[in-house]
Point group: C2
Chain length 138, copies 2
């Protein structure tokens, strides 16, 4: 739906403000040379990086630690054919610093699934792009 | 949220049935060696391939024609921490056959944006995976 000029580009601040409104986004990465995508709940850290909480031995952690990934969130309304999407592109790293891990255990995202142990993944918000699609005629 | 056994794998038929319920999904591909993702409205063809309608000269068409991409859709409810996601992985191709183009102009997806001309992209449902996350305790 974003292939011509009927959308409005959002700046970094607008994009991050919208991103903070939704609980779930999608990690986009490469797995065995194929495009892969996984929905996850998340939160934004004080430096606007995206924080995920997952199992330390998950396939996701193995696939994205140290790698540039995209993280996407959106909201669309089919009735009005309008909405927005935001993509954060940046390096994903597993949090290894003990003090940082402790801070995120208190203030970071909680997994929606019961986990034996928590691994936090940070996606740096090196590039943030957003687009808004308005209802036709507005 | 999908990193352990608290989700249920969905079979191909369940996955396609859920996919047919939602108007918008996300094309996942590679652009300039980086992971890329673009939300688009779509429909399912009679052979369960995913159909998109976009501008013939869009960046998306140039990036994915002839390439294996992933297409993802999901629905989650933060209140109950439950939902589902489906990923179709397969080759994307621009529809070039005139009769097929005419059929899709009648019965295929309509772009949410005004287009000067319509290009239809078909993503073959070579691999269809789905996962369901149930509310805790169910």
């Amino acid at each position: 739906m974003y292939q011509n000029d009927a959308f409005r580009a959002l700046d970094r601040q607008e994009s991050l403000r919208l991103l903070a409104k939704v609980p779930v986004g999608r990690v986009v990465y490469t797995r065995q040379a194929l495009p892969a995508v996984l929905p996850v709940n998340f939160s934004l850290d004080t430096d606007s990086s995206v924080l995920l909480c997952t199992s330390p031995d998950s396939d996701l952690v193995g696939a994205i630690d140290g790698v540039v990934v995209a993280f996407e969130a959106d909201e669309f309304d089919a009735a009005t054919r309008s909405g927005w999407s935001v993509v954060v592109t940046g390096r994903a790293t597993v949090v290894t610093d003990p003090a940082e891990h402790e801070r995120l255990s208190r203030d970071g995202p909680a997994s929606w699934m019961p986990l034996a142990g928590a691994a936090f993944v940070r996606i740096e918000s090196q590039m943030v792009t957003g687009r808004e699609l308005r209802p036709p005629g507005l």
